[in-house]
């Protein structure tokens, strides 16, 4: 499995949150602890230089994965291996070294920059924290360069975040993430708080930077159109599990899993080809109390008794695409080609 092309490997990661009421309330009301399985056994790899996207509806665990990968949450089970090093087993020193090599871009450009810090200080934080640079003049030069790279002016480093628009703040966020010359960026819905025209700017910028610096992205989004534009490979998540993963073309042209098919047909059709949207009945179940077997079975048109009782295993095809569905395995689903 030791493949030099693989930058990050996520092995059977699970993350649970204790969302129980306070102890006293539980005792009085006689309720058990309630555990939310935000992510339940997810495995995938990311190759150098590619963009892997995770899509899914709210509560599917995609943001939790991003945070586990970045070390913001410790996984309850499984491991994250970055460039051959298991993050959980790495020494403090090694971890410090690894941290330089990945960074994160957040969703909300209004919350991800400290409102009391000047832009120059914000961007220089990783440089100073990692001890990459200590000389003030050198740091300023690097910040100038970073600001220019993301399309802002070096003069902007004296300003405060509130003086910028949402798109400009996201550029500042990207400049900060790039300052320690990382190889890997985790992007948690980086454009969903932005307007379309600004979203296009940021997506273009991210593509340019990827080409220039050979960056690898883990891209989290709920917007399938954005994902289809930016990714090399796409993973679809549902209720804490990966249900399908394949390269972008395959997944959008020949979706296998019923949930992927449903998501694709639910996207508004801008071209107005007259294609009728097929709204799928039902809603995402409460993740505190997920359905038995395949968690998608209550909404799935192909569900049978096996789906209700037995959780499907991941089937890996020759081309590396994966799908976890009994109906696909048993060839019960007509293959639907996207319009």
């Amino acid at each position: 499995m030791k493949n030099s092309n693989v930058l990050l490997e996520v092995r059977d990661v699970a993350r649970e949150f204790d969302v129980s009421k306070p102890w006293l309330n539980r005792v009085i009301e006689g309720q058990p602890k309630s555990i939310l399985k935000a992510v339940d056994g997810v495995s995938f790899t990311i190759n150098r230089g590619e963009t892997l996207s995770l899509v899914g509806e709210s509560g599917c665990g995609k943001s939790t994965i991003a945070r586990v990968v970045c070390g913001l949450y410790a996984p309850s089970r499984g491991s994250v291996v970055f460039d051959g090093v298991d993050m959980a087993k790495a020494s403090v020193n090694e971890q410090q070294q690894l941290r330089k090599r990945f960074q994160m871009i957040f969703q909300d450009p209004y919350a991800s920059l400290n409102p009391r810090w000047r832009v120059g200080k914000i961007i220089a934080e990783p440089l100073i924290s990692h001890g990459i640079m200590t000389d003030k003049v050198e740091i300023k030069k690097r910040v100038d360069q970073l600001l220019t790279q993301v399309g802002l002016s070096p003069l902007d480093q004296e300003k405060f975040p509130h003086e910028f628009s949402g798109g400009q703040r996201q550029r500042i966020s990207i400049a900060r993430a790039l300052s320690s010359n990382p190889e890997f960026l985790v992007c948690d819905e980086p454009t969903s708080a932005l307007d379309v025209s600004v979203q296009a700017q940021i997506l273009n910028l991210m593509k340019d930077l990827q080409r220039e610096f050979g960056l690898t992205y883990l891209f989290i989004s709920h917007n399938l159109a954005v994902v289809s534009h930016i990714s090399t490979r796409v993973g679809v998540m549902y209720l804490g599990r990966l249900v399908e993963m394949a390269d972008t073309k395959t997944i959008f042209n020949r979706p296998l899993h019923p949930y992927t098919q449903m998501l694709l047909s639910a996207i508004p059709d801008l071209k107005m080809t007259g294609k009728q949207r097929t709204p799928v009945a039902g809603e995402v179940p409460n993740p505190l109390n997920p359905p038995s077997g395949c968690t998608f079975h209550p909404r799935c048109p192909y569900a049978n008794d096996r789906c209700k009782s037995e959780a499907p295993k991941m089937i890996v095809a020759d081309d590396g695409s994966m799908v976890s569905c009994h109906a696909v395995e048993e060839k019960r689903i007509p293959i639907r080609l996207a319009a």
């Binding site: 949402g166 379309v196 600004v198 534009h229 998501l263």
Partner: protein
């Protein structure tokens, strides 16, 4: 041409602030025919939500209508005293907002809220009102409506809650519904359900809708005509297919190119550089001119004189590029458009 149900003439909404008077909606005119769905699309800060709020008389102070007229069925409503307006709101104009939680009172059952609206506006007995409430909930697709009527808003999921809000908006059979970002807070699969429902109900009841959103996909699926707003003004207005497939205003052109399309492989998205101007720094002339790629083509007029809506192709665009092809309107008023 049929008489419009709603006619907005030269509406201007202003906010007095300590740094001067800000004009958030600047001289907007539009009409909605009976049974028509008018989409109002724009990026944040374009003034689209304020236009909706002004029509329904819910501008938050210190915002106020500075000039212009709003006519509903030929009757002027913008200058009505608050008491009079309250009778119109709900009875003649219904409202659906982005966050269903804020439009429902968390302390009352949904049944009570719908029944109250019915009793306030329609001449029925309480028993009839309750029956109508159950019918409404059934109609918007809430299962076991006769039981759910006694539930509180927090007992509904996000999608179900938005269905309740729609039933509340329809309760008194209004002729017009102002829907402000009705699907923005929802997941794609739920979004598709709600859009389908809204379309179906409006067709059945002959209700007109002003659909305010930033999502061009939703507009494409739902609206008959669309008004594209930029910096408080209408940049382009016309039949939805024309605006999407054959946009005339450079801003609309850029906006359409900026939206990533499923299955369409483009290396870079069209991007409109810069961002929407802040209200205190709206450029002179055409507000879009600093970002416009075509402003050189018509000389200095773009930076000095503000364009009104001109006939452009099959739509109307506020752009000097069309000054010789179309007849100049004296105001920002769209000319009659066959429904």
């Amino acid at each position: 041409m049929t008489t419009p149900l709603l006619e907005v003439k030269n509406l201007r909404v202003q906010f007095p602030t300590r740094r001067g008077l800000l004009t958030a909606v600047d001289d907007i005119s539009l009409t909605i025919a009976p049974g028509e769905v008018l989409g109002v699309v724009g990026e944040s800060g374009a003034g689209k939500s304020l236009t909706g709020a002004a029509i329904i008389g819910l501008l938050e102070p210190p915002g106020r209508i500075a000039s212009g007229e709003i006519l509903l069925n030929g009757r002027r409503i913008d200058n009505l005293p608050p008491d009079e307006f309250r009778k119109i709101r709900g009875r003649e104009i219904g409202a659906i907002f982005q966050d269903p939680l804020t439009s429902l009172n968390p302390l009352y059952t949904v049944g009570r809220q719908i029944t109250e609206t019915i009793l306030t506006h329609l001449d029925v007995t309480p028993a009839q009102a309750k029956q109508r409430a159950i019918d409404l909930l059934n109609e918007v697709g809430i299962p076991a409506a006769d039981k759910r009527i006694d539930h509180y808003p927090h007992q509904f999921s996000g999608g179900m809650r938005q269905r309740v809000v729609i039933s509340l908006a329809l309760a008194a059979q209004p002729k017009l519904i102002i829907a402000d970002e009705p699907t923005t807070a929802l997941d794609v699969s739920i979004q598709a359900q709600i859009i389908t429902l809204l379309k179906k109900l409006c067709r059945e009841h002959g209700t007109s809708v002003m659909l305010v959103t930033h999502d061009m996909g939703v507009i494409a699926e739902t609206a008959d005509r669309v008004a594209v707003m930029y910096a408080g003004r209408i940049a382009e207005i016309g039949p939805v297919a024309e605006v999407i497939h054959n946009p005339q205003h450079p801003y609309t052109v850029g906006l359409m190119g900026a939206i990533p399309n499923l299955g369409e492989e483009v290396e870079r998205l069209t991007q409109i550089d810069g961002s929407m101007p802040r209200l205190n720094a709206i450029p002179t002339g055409c507000a879009f001119n600093p970002r416009c790629t075509r402003k050189g083509e018509v000389g200095v007029r773009c930076t000095t004189e503000r364009p009104n809506l001109l006939n452009a192709g099959n739509t109307q665009a506020a752009c000097w590029l069309y000054s010789d092809t179309g007849t100049t309107n004296t105001t920002n008023t769209p000319q009659s458009v066959a429904a």
